[in-house]
Amino acid sequence: MAESLIDLSRVGMTYQAVSGPVEALAGISLSVGAGEFVSLVGPSGCGKSTLLRIVAGLRPATEGTVTVEGRQVTRPIADIGMVFQAPVLLKWRTILDNILLPAELAGKEKRAYWARAQELLEMAGLHGFADKLPRELSGGMQQRASLCRALLLDPPLLLMDEPFGALDAMTRDDMALELLRIWGERDLAREQRKTVLFVTHSIGEAVFLSDRVVVMSPRPGRIAADLKIDLPRPRTVELRASEAFGQLNLEIFRTLTRRSSAGAVS
């Protein structure tokens, strides 16, 4: 495997609640290789979204160290694309202007990214929607626009926080395929692909998309299992019906339901 892009070493996170300190994450050590697609699954409140924000430098870890591309993360790192559960588009901006927002926020010349934005719209099947307002698009299309926005500055790292969680089941499966296509599963070599850290509730989604699935235990979130998904790429719809796919789903499901006895994995 290529050298790692993200390195977490014994990361812990304790925050102060009204009732006292709450330990959200404990002893998380994890390496993600460049170009790797890694999913984090776990029960609600296990801190997987928090972990994503720690990697982004948006929240400080209270213990351990986080490095991205060899640099220790102490403040927000600009070299990432973020996609959230909601599309979080600016209601008053057209789709094109929403996609160009990162360039403006990062203080770059907006016009230099115009062609790139058009290219992304094309790739996401949103051509013809550039001048529409977000409310004129369906939820799935808004989420595609949000993915385009995350890709605008061509970041090496993509952090996705339950990006398809608010979509209906059919749109969700479509989006998974779409994401793999945009990720370059078919036409890019591994080193050219973006590194993706993908948080989800859905075991099936995690297995379908990922090279590795990291299963987390309930609060305080720890790594309960780290499974390599050795399914052939490009992934296809038929794969969902295969025995290997079913086996992996079952294994992760068992790890999740055995969680109380799983204990600490260090």
């Binding site: 927000p76 973020m82 600016l90 209601k91 403006e104 926020l105 990062a106």
Partner: protein, 253 residues
């Protein structure tokens, strides 16, 4: 909107209005005394009566209302931005503003007379004082009602605070501000008239005060119609601006 759609939407309004005027005219012709309730027609005549210099009065009151509106809008937005910008300023300003807002403004009007004498300015100030508070609150709320994820997006790119304000918070607050300005438009009218009641030598409120002694109710009614015309016009302009500037927020209020 197409003409048939316009008719479909507004015919009940027009019908009710016409019916009320007809009932009013009938009521007056069947016995209510003219000095208690003047007939719509006499009000109409009074509105165009050359003996009352309506132009001068309308001019004075309109200026007061416009001045009050802009003062309230500018000061209100500035205070709202200050509150949303800095917690320190918020802690300093909010209790003070709440205190000012709880004062019955009418009770301050006589003091304005002592401090500033007769004139258009104190009446403007009265209107501004009544109308600025909703603008402050809505501006501050609109500036802070931004999704956390959107703010995280700003932080990821290390965007400076002013940029987050300019590109995200202020456009987000715009519909809230415009919504408050509709209230301010009405409040500016109230303030101007209250000011004129207490101290004035011209203006539509002044006209109403002078009709009290002469029991000339048709002139009082005429002044009322002129006041509401100015008020409606201002309100209409704000609604139109909201439609033009924040079309994405249609249906928020």
């Amino acid at each position: 909107m197409k003409i048939p759609a316009l008719i479909r939407q507004y015919w009940p309004t027009v019908a009710l209005f016409v019916a009320l005027v007809v009932v009013w005219q009938l009521a007056v012709t069947t016995g209510i005394r003219e000095y208690l309730l003047p007939a719509p027609l006499s009000v109409w005549h009074a509105m165009w009566d050359g003996e009352i210099s309506w132009g001068q009065h309308l001019w004075a009151t309109t200026w007061e209302i416009i001045g009050a509106f802009f003062m309230a809008a500018i000061v209100g937005v500035a205070l709202g931005v200050a509150i949303a910008w800095s917690p320190l300023l918020a802690n300093a300003l909010v209790p003070f503003l709440v205190f000012v807002n709880t004062l019955p403004k009418v009770a301050i009007a006589p003091l304005f007379l002592i401090w500033m004498g007769y004139g258009i300015f104190p009446n403007m100030l009265m209107g501004a004082l009544i109308g600025f508070f909703p603008v402050v609150i809505n501006t501050a709320v609109g500036l802070s009602q931004v999704e956390d994820d959107m703010l995280d997006l700003g932080r990821v790119f290390n965007a400076p605070k002013w940029k987050i304000f300019a590109k995200i918070r202020i456009p987000n607050a715009l519909p809230y501000i415009l919504s408050a300005l509709k209230i301010t438009a009405t409040a500016a009218v109230v303030g101007a008239i209250v000011g004129e009641f207490v101290a004035s030598q011209k203006g539509l409120g002044y006209v109403i005060v002078t009709t009290q002694s002469s029991m000339n109710t048709s002139v009082a009614f005429a002044a009322l119609v002129w006041i509401s015309t100015v008020g409606l016009l201002l309100y209409g302009i704000v609604v139109l601006l909201a439609h033009l500037w924040a079309p994405w927020a249609e249906g928020i209020d």
